[in-house]
């Protein structure tokens, strides 16, 4: 019993570590995709629609647009939203 519990605990811990340690996480939330699409449009950059977004950090996303263009959307230390073409 104790061996099984140890195995289960180690697997859970490994999963948590893997989830938290990953530098890039897919953001499939439609609200986030829509928000990023609006931000890119507000900055006057061509995109059409954001199809995928990968979270790279706090307020930092790497997005891919429907037209094939890719951007980095993040908030700089001054609190400004920046859309940077990749």
């Amino acid at each position: 019993m104790s061996g099984r519990t140890k195995v289960r605990g180690s697997i859970g811990a490994a999963a948590i570590v893997m989830a938290g340690a990953g530098p890039a996480l897919a953001a499939d939330d439609p609200a986030v995709l829509k928000d990023l699409t609006a931000v890119i449009a507000l900055q006057g950059q061509p995109c059409g629609q954001v199809v995928t977004a990968t979270k790279q950090g706090e307020n930092d996303y790497a997005v891919a647009c429907k037209d094939g263009s890719k951007y980095r959307v993040f908030v700089n230390p001054d609190g400004r939203v920046v859309v940077q073409k990749q």
């Binding site: 609200a31 986030v32 928000d35 609006a38 931000v39 507000l42 307020n59 959307v73 908030v75 609190g79």
Partner: protein, 256 residues
């Protein structure tokens, strides 16, 4: 032979003289071809005519008394052209009177044709110019009435602007994502900074550019709100001019 010829000639002359003396009274007056006969009859009758008509002696010279009595004003001019071809001798006599009526005729004829066109041209433009004038005059009241119509719709725009409420509703709305709100706030801050420069420099040339930027930013906000929060979009749209008034007024802008 010569005596017989002379006798015959004298006889012919006597016959002719008798014939002339007997015919003059009635038949010559009725004939339309009397003008062919030589001048003798008119001089004989001319002394009779003067007493009857008191005036106008010129037309009587070339015409017979009967015609003068019946057609004084118009007949001379009308008959003379008809009689001129057959009578060569009468032509010189009637020529002066013809020359007078002919110049007289053209003037009336000339003014007649020319007069109508000018009158028509004057009259036609006159109505045309009058009609536009009337239309313009008629349009003026219409245009004056047109602005009066929108005025009833203006009062709704005069709704009091609650800037704090609008700001809070924009912060709380879920129609705009966090990134988008932050990006909009950046652009609002940029616009406010431009207004600060405008109020410092008081350069009126900046105003049109500021208005353009302001309209574009508001359009972005409205496009973001119109689907997720139409009520807030409507209120923001109705507050457009009031917000602009605050931004343009230096005193109100300081109190922001």
């Amino acid at each position: 032979m010569t005596n017989s010829m002379r006798v015959v000639a004298i006889g012919v002359v006597a016959f002719l003289s008798q014939a002339c003396d007997s015919t003059p009274p009635t038949p010559r007056q009725t004939d339309g071809t009397v003008s062919r006969e030589p001048a003798p009859p008119p001089p004989a009758e001319s002394p009779k005519v003067p007493p009857t008509p008191p005036g106008k002696t010129v037309p009587r010279e070339g015409e017979q008394p009967s015609r003068d009595a019946s057609q004084k004003p118009t007949a001379p001019t009308r008959d003379t052209p008809r009689t001129t071809p057959p009578v060569p001798a009468a032509a010189p006599r009637t020529a002066p009177p013809r020359a007078e009526p002919t110049p007289a005729a053209p003037p009336p004829a000339a003014p007649a044709p020319t007069a109508p066109p000018p009158t028509e041209s004057h009259t036609s433009p006159a109505p045309s110019t009058q009609t536009p004038a009337t239309t313009l005059r008629a349009a003026a009241p219409q245009t004056a009435q047109a602005p009066s119509a929108p005025t009833p719709t203006a009062p709704p725009k005069a709704a009091p602007l609650d800037l704090g409420s609008l700001e809070q509703r924009l912060r709380d709305t879920k129609a705009i994502g966090v990134f988008t709100k932050l990006s909009l706030k950046n652009q609002v801050d940029d616009l406010l900074e431009q207004f600060r420069e405008f109020h410092k420099s008081r350069d009126q040339s900046m105003l049109s550019r500021l208005r353009q930027t302001y309209d574009l930013l508001l359009l972005k906000v409205l496009s973001l709100l119109q689907d997720g929060d139409p009520a807030l979009a409507r209120d923001v749209s109705s507050s457009r001019e009031a917000l602009w008034g605050i931004l343009v007024d230096p005193d109100k802008f300081k109190n922001l």
